[in-house]
Symmetry: C2
Subunit: 655 residues, 2 copies
C-alpha cells in the first residue's frame, strides 16, 4: 500500500477552496469550455506525484493518491475515487461545492459515462500533457456521438491559477551500480532495441519515470518515496536521448543533475542528454534524423512504439505530426515487461533487504508491545517515526528512505484502508485496540512493503480472531500456491479471498501489486485482484482487464496482502513480499511456479483462531515462524527483541 499526501500547507478549507473553484471557472469561460478535467497523474502517468503536480489535491482538498476531478460551469464539481478512499474523500471534500462519485459502486457512472449523459452540447477541456492519448481517443469515440466535444488545451488551467505553487524538484540523479542492477545499460538498450525490431518499430518514447530509471540504471528523488527523477527517454535503433532538467532555467545545462558516475554510465551507453522542456519539440526532429540514417532499412521501421497507459496525448500528437512516422500501440512497453522480471542479482538484493527490513520490524514490534503494555505513551505519528528510525538503524548506508508514507493506524483508524495519521487528529495506541502497521523502505539493494496487524491486549473478540484467521488463511493459500507459469493475476486472487468468502466477508482492494527493485513500490504490468468487483465491472474497464489478466511469471516480485475492514471499528491486513520462482517442468512439459515469501516477520498468534485452521495451514504457520526465527534472530541488535522473537515464533500447538 501507498498513501502519499501533500503537507497540510497545500490544502486549506472554506473560502480559500471556493476561490480556487471560482478562479478555475473564470478561466474556463475565457477558454470557451463548459467543463475541465483534472487528473491525479503528472505528465509521466505517475501514481504518486510531487507537490507541484498535485493539482487535483490542491483544487479539491482531497489528497488520496487516486481520483479524477471534473469541474463544470454550473452545479457542484465532481470527484471520482475508488473504495480505498471513500471515507477520506467524504472527510476532505467540501460537500457544498463537491460531489463524491464512488467508483464501481452500483449505479455510479464512470467519468466518461457521466460526461456523455450530462455534457451533451458542451466543450470539455483537458491538458494534453496529463492525459493518456489512448484514453482520450476512446472517450472521443464514445462521446462524440453524444454531442460532447473534448478539447486539449496546452498549458494547465490549474497551474495558471495556483498561487504559491511549490517549485519543481530537480534533485541529484545517481548511478544504480551494476552489483545491484545485475545488468548494464548497454545490455538493457540492446534488449529493448531487439524488442522494437521484433515488433517492426524503429523507436520508442518512454514517459513512465520508473521505466526511464530502470533502463538507464539511474535513481533520483524527485517524487517522495519513489527513487525516480523527471525525464523522458527516446530510444531509436541507433540512438538514445534523455530529456532532463524539468523547469530549470535555460542557462543551466540539462545534465546538471547527473552525478559523475551517472554521466559516465550514459556516455558509455551512448545516451545523449537534452533539455526536458524540448521533449515535444525535439521528438519529430530526432525521429526524422533516425529515419534519414536508416533510409536503407525496411520502410516499416518508421513506426514508434507508444505505451497505451502512459503515452500522453501531447507526446502522441508530436509523434503523429512527424512525416513518414506512424504509431504502434502496446499495452506494456518492453522495459515495463523487462523490469518486472527480476534478475538473480536483483533477487538476491531483494532477499537481503527484506531480511534487514524484517529484523528492524521485529525490533520495533517488540519495543512497541513492551511500551504499550507498560503504559508508555505512543501515538500513531510517533510510532511511524520510530519505525523509520529503526529501519535506518538496521540498514545503515543501505537505507534510502521510506517506500511510501507509513500507515500506522490504531483502533477505528485501522479500518481506513489508506489511513494517514496527522498531528491534528492522531490517535494514541492502546492495548485493547487493533493496530495496523503498513510500511516499507527503499534500500539500495531492494524495496519493501510489509503490513502486520496486532492486538497487544489480552482479549481480542472472537469476531476479530475469526476475521484475522480468515485473512491469514487467504495469505497462506496464495503464499503456498503452485500454479502454471503465466497464470493471470485474477485467478490468483481466488486463493487470497476464498477463506474470507466462506464467511461472506470481503475486502475492497487488490491483493497484490508488483514491486520494483529499488524502484517504485507499485509497478506493473500485472496485479492480483478483481475479486472485489463483478465480472461485468472488470469487463467494462480496460485498465483493470489489462492488469488482472496479465500473466504472472517467474522472477516477478510482488506483495501478498489480503485484509478485512469493519468500518468505524477495526481493520486488519497481512502483507508480505514474495518472489515468483520457476519449478522444474512436469512430465507433460508444462511450466510451473510457486512463491517464495521474502518477508520474515511473525504473525499475531493471539489473533489466530486455531479451530478454523486446517492441519496444512497450521503447519505452514509453524514452518514460517521457524524460518523467521532462524533467519532473523542472528540479525537482531538487542537481546529483548531476541527474547520476544523466540516467543512470537514458538510453535502453535493444537489443543
Amino acid at each position: 500500500f501507498c498513501a502519499l499526501s501533500p503537507p497540510p500547507s497545500c490544502v486549506t478549507h472554506g473560502r480559500a477552496m471556493d476561490a480556487r473553484l471560482a478562479a478555475l471557472r473564470a478561466l474556463m469561460v475565457e477558454h470557451g469550455i463548459q467543463a475541465y478535467l483534472v487528473p491525479s497523474e503528472d505528465a509521466h502517468g505517475s501514481e504518486y506525484v510531487c507537490l507541484c503536480d498535485q493539482r487535483r489535491g490542491w483544487l479539491s482538498g482531497f489528497t488520496g493518491s487516486a481520483g479524477t476531478a471534473v469541474v463544470v460551469a454550473e452545479g457542484p464539481a465532481l470527484l471520482w475515487t475508488d473504495g480505498r478512499y471513500f471515507t477520506q474523500a467524504e472527510q476532505q471534500l467540501d460537500a457544498a461545492q463537491w460531489e463524491l462519485m464512488r467508483m464501481y459502486e452500483p449505479g455510479v457512472p464512470q467519468v466518461e459515462q457521466w460526461l456523455g449523459k450530462h455534457c451533451s452540447g458542451m466543450v470539455v477541456g483537458l491538458d494534453p500533457a496529463l492525459w493518456s492519448a489512448h484514453r482520450i481517443r476512446q472517450w472521443e469515440a464514445l462521446l462524440e456521438p453524444q454531442g460532447v466535444s473534448l478539447r486539449p488545451i496546452p498549458g494547465n488551467l490549474v497551474d495558471a491559477i495556483w498561487q504559491e505553487r511549490p517549485v519543481v524538484p530537480r534533485n541529484p540523479v545517481k548511478a544504480h551500480p551494476l552489483r545491484f542492477a545485475g545488468e548494464g545499460v548497454s545490455s538493457k538498450l540492446e534488449r529493448l532495441r531487439d524488442g522494437l525490431v521484433r515488433e517492426g518499430c524503429g523507436a520508442i518514447a518512454l514517459e513512465a519515470l520508473d521505466q526511464v530509471a530502470w533502463t538507464l540504471n539511474l535513481r533520483g528523488s524527485d517524487i517522495a518515496c519513489n527513487p525516480v527523477f523527471f525525464g523522458f527517454l527516446l530510444v531509436t535503433t541507433d540512438s538514445a536521448h534523455l530529456f532532463l532538467g524539468r523547469g530549470s532555467a535555460p542557462d543551466i545545462p540539462p545534465d546538471a543533475q547527473l552525478s559523475p558516475e551517472a554521466l559516465q554510465q550514459l556516455a558509455e551507453a551512448s545516451v545523449d542528454v537534452l533539455p526536458y522542456g524540448s521533449w515535444a519539440v525535439m521528438l519529430p526532429t530526432l525521429l526524422q534524423d533516425a529515419a534519414a540514417r536508416a533510409r536503407d532499412h525496411a520502410a516499416r521501421s518508421c513506426r514508434i512504439m507508444l505505451e497505451n497507459g502512459r503515452c500522453s496525448l501531447a507526446t502522441r500528437q508530436a509523434a503523429e505530426s512527424t512525416p513518414g512516422w506512424s504509431v504502434h500501440e502496446v499495452d506494456a512497453s518492453p522495459p515495463e515487461n523487462f523490469k518486472a522480471i527480476k534478475n538473480d542479482c536483483e533477487i538476491e538484493g531483494i532477499r537481503q533487504a527484506a531480511l534487514r527490513d524484517s529484523a528492524a520490524l521485529v525490533d520495533f514490534i517488540c519495543w512497541l508491545e513492551n511500551a504499550i503494555r507498560s503504559g508508555e505513551h505512543v501515538d500513531e505519528v510517533s510510532a511511524a517515526a520510530t519505525v523509520r528510525e529503526t529501519r535506518e538503524h538496521y540498514s545503515k548506508e543501505y537505507f534510502v528512505g521510506e517506500s511510501f508514507e507509513t500507515i500506522a493506524a490504531s483502533g477505528p483508524n485501522s479500518a481506513i484502508i489508506h489511513y494517514k495519521a496527522e498531528e491534528s487528529s492522531k490517535r494514541d495506541l492502546k492495548p485493547n485496540e487493533m493496530f495496523l502497521l503498513d510500511s516499507g523502505a527503499q534500500y539500495i539493494d531492494g524495496t519493501t512493503d510489509v503490513t502486520r496487524t496486532f492486538f497487544f491486549g489480552s482479549e481480542p473478540s472472537s469476531e476479530q480472531r475469526r476475521c484475522y484467521t480468515r485473512v491469514l488463511q487467504g495469505h497462506i493459500a496464495l503464499a503456498q500456491a503452485v500454479v502454471p507459469e503465466g497464470i493471470p493475476g485474477i485467478m490468483l486472487d481466488t486463493f487470497a479471498r476464498s477463506a474470507l468468502w466462506k464467511d461472506c466477508l470481503a475486502y475492497g482492494h487488490g491483493t497484490s501489486h508488483g514491486i520494483g527493485a529499488y524502484l517504485n513500490v507499485h509497478e506493473g504490468p500485472f496485479g492480483i485482484g478483481g475479486g472485489n468487483h463483478s465480472g461485468k465491472t472488470i469487463k467494462g474497464n480496460p485498465r483493470m482487464l489489462d492488469v488482472y489478466m496479465s500473466p504472472v511469471m517467474p522472477g516477478m516480485f510482488l506483495s501478498n496482502e489480503p485484509g478485512f475492514y469493519q468500518v468505524d471499528a477495526w481493520g486488519m491486513r497481512i502483507e508480505s513480499d514474495m518472489v515468483a520462482s520457476a519449478l522444474p517442468a512436469s512430465a507433460d512439459n508444462k511450466k510451473w511456479m510457486r512463491f517464495e515469501t521474502v518477508t520474515k516477520v511473525p504473525m499475531a498468534k493471539n489473533l489466530i483462531d486455531v479451530s478454523l485452521l486446517s492441519e496444512n495451514e497450521l503447519t505452514w504457520i509453524n514452518d514460517y515462524h521457524q524460518e523467521v526465527l532462524s533467519k532473523i534472530q542472528p540479525l537482531l541488535l538487542n537481546e529483548a527483541a531476541s527474547v520476544w522473537l523466540r516467543e512470537a515464533c514458538s510453535p502453535i500447538e493444537v489443543a
Copy 2:
C-alpha cells in the same frame, strides 16, 4: 461435454477425400480466390450442427465439434482445433493433404495471424451466412494492412461440390408447456422489448437457435441432441416474425412444421410466420415497416440490436442496407442473458430431471459393475446403448433423447477428452482398466450432463488414486464455494484446479459450461475456465475473455467438471450439474451465492486416497453420499441397485 459426429457414411478416406479438395480448389479458381475458409458452424452459429451443415467434417475428415479449415490453392490445407481434439484430429486427417494447427499451443498462430503472414496479396473467400460479422470485421481491420483481402461469396462452395449431401431436416416443432417453461411467450417478448428500449433499440434479430426456441417456448429436433429447430426471429417493439421451413419447397406453408399448440402459442403472442429462405430479403422490409409505424417515436429507436458472436455477416449486411437503420452490437442478447437465469419452475424441473437421471445412472453402474466382475462381455458401444435404455426406463414419457453423444471410454480411450466409440474400433470394458462415462439426456423438464469415472477392479495404482483424489478435491472446492454474486467464471476456475496444481497436474479443457432447461447442453453467456491457458492467450482471445469474464449469477445452471488425462494410458473426469443460488445479503449489503449440486450419483470410493483429504473434504464426501442415498434409493426400480447404492454411499472412515 458434447461430442457429435456425422455417421461414418459422411466421411471417407484416401482418394475420395483428395477429390473433394481438388473440386473445391477448382471452384476457387473460378471465383478468383486463393484461399477459402470453412468453419464448423451453421448459419445460426450452432456449436453442434446437423449432417447437411457438417461442411468442415465432410471436407477434411475431422469430425470433432470445433475446428476451422483453411484451404489454400497450393500446399496442404490447414485445420485449426483445440486441445480436446488434437488426438482425434491426428487420427482423422490425411497428413499428406492436411496440416493440423494446434490452437493455443506455444508458437501456433491463430487463423487470422496465419492468414496475415501467408496470404499477403491474396483474396480469401468465405460464406457470409456462416461467419459472424463481428469476427470478419475484426479480421478485415487486421488483414487489410497486411494485403489480405476477405471476400464474402454468397452461396457455399462446399455445398456446391457436395454430392449426396444429406437433406435439411424439418422436424415437427412442439410447444414447451408453461408448467415447465415457467414464463409465457408474451411475458418473454415484453421483457425483451423492455431490454431493447432500455438500450435505445427498436428491433433485434435472433439467429441462435436456442435463443429462438427459448423466446417462443418451442422445441424441435432438427439438430441431434439439441431440442431446437431451424428458424430466425425478428422482434421489433410492436411485431415479431419467425422464419421457418428451411429448405422446403415454395408451395409448403412456412408454418407446416408447427404443432397445433405451437401455432396457438404463436398466435396468442402475435408472432407471424414467414418462410426461412426470405430472412435476408424480408429483414429490410420489416424494419422499414416498423420505422413507419413508429414515426412519432424518437429517431434512435431505428437501431437494430445484433449479437456479436452470432450475427452473421449476411444478416448484418441486410440490416445495414436498410435506409435509416443502424446497428447496435452487444456481446450477449437479452434472451441469451434471460435464459441463463432459470426461474423457479425451471429449477424445480431441473431438480426432478436430475434425480430421475441420477437414479438411472446408479442402476446402470450397479449393473455394469456386476456384469464386468462376473465376466460378462460389455463394450463401449453396448455400454452406451444400455445407459440410454436405462434412462428411458427411469423417465418414461419425460425422456426425449440424449443431450449429447455418450462418451463411454475404456482404458487408454478414457484419456481422449472427447472420445467417441465406433463399432470398428470399440474396446471391451475390463475390470482393471479405467472406465469414464460422460452422458446426459434431454427430458421435457430438464437437461442433464454427468460424468463419473470407475475402476471396477480391486487395485487401481497409487498414481491413479492420487490423481482421482485431486480431481475430486477440485470438484468439491467448486461445489462448496461461497462467492460474491457476479463473480467472473475465471475466478471460479481456480477452485477446480488448485488441488491438481499442487502436484503440477493440469487438464486441457474448461471446468464448466451453462446448461439449458430442456435446451442445448452447452449454453452461454458465461463459462468457468481459463486455467489451462496463459493470461496472455486469454487477453488475446476476445471470445475467451468474453465467456470467462462474464458474471456468474444466482439461477444459473452449470456443470462442474474437472478432470485429468494421462495420454495413452487413462483419463478421469468428475462432472455434476449445479444451480447457483443466492445467499442472504451480508451486513455490509453485499450479495453472495453458492452452488447446489443437483446430480446425485456416488463417487468411486476405491479411487480415493483418503490420506490426501482434509477433514472438511471428507465430510463433504460423506454428506454428499448420505444425500445421494436418501434421495435416490426411493427411486430405484430394482433391489440389486438399492443394495449396491447403500454400499457405494457408506461413510468413508479415517484409518
